[in-house]
């Protein structure tokens, strides 16, 4: 089945600009044009784009996705490399989670400290830190 760009973006939930960008950076092959000059995408293209989306939703960067796409060509031989990439990503996410938790804790505490109608604002005070005099 061939998808015109409108149908492809609808199926994938992407913007046409994003789709063109993926093509431009080589993440997906440049779409072929039909006899009317419209870009068309095959099932294979759509599946590849779905893979890109899922990988992005899992937190992989476009560069990492490029590596995963290469590894995808031969998943059996490359499972060790995929695992290693996924492990690194998992550790990175764990670190981000820790940072986010800390940021959330700080902000929640500041919100509780702020009555919203006092003469000074603890949130701004905190962000100001110790201004240079």
């Amino acid at each position: 089945m061939a998808y015109r760009i409108g149908a492809a973006v609808k199926t994938l939930g992407l913007s046409a600009d994003t789709l063109r960008y993926y093509e431009k950076i080589g993440l997906v092959p440049r779409a072929v044009k039909n006899s009317s000059g419209h870009r068309v995408y095959s099932n294979r293209d759509i599946n590849r784009l779905c893979f890109v989306q899922r990988a992005q939703n899992t937190g992989f960067t476009l560069e990492e996705i490029r590596q995963l796409l290469k590894l995808r060509e031969n998943p059996v031989k490359c499972s060790h490399a995929v695992r290693s990439l996924a492990r690194k990503k998992c550790e990175h996410l764990q670190q981000q989670l820790k940072t986010l938790k800390k940021m959330h804790g700080e902000l929640a505490l500041l919100l509780n400290l702020c009555s919203g109608d006092a003469a000074h604002c603890p949130i701004l005070d905190r962000l100001d830190g110790n201004p240079v005099q």
Binding site: K102, G105, E106, L109, P122, R126
Partner: protein, 97 residues
Amino acid sequence: MSSPAGTRSMSVEIELFYAPWCTRCAAPRRRLRALLSGPAGRALAYHERNVLENLERAVELGVTATPALAISGRLVAMGRWREARLRALIAAARAGA
């Protein structure tokens, strides 16, 4: 404020988190100082921490409001607390120290 120092090593640490503008903090702070200036304050380290200046520490302990009280690195009370409970917590911390 530093607490009265005892002769034993100070293994029990009390941290009171307050905010300078917090009207609910003044009374517990005063009562805590009074309590710790007596026998209950022997051989422990007492720190009053401005929450804004010690935000990371406060968050690490799980403080979400002031006043908040931590004993030996564990958040034990927020808002209000009874003196009897505080005495019991200090005694328990001493026993476990």
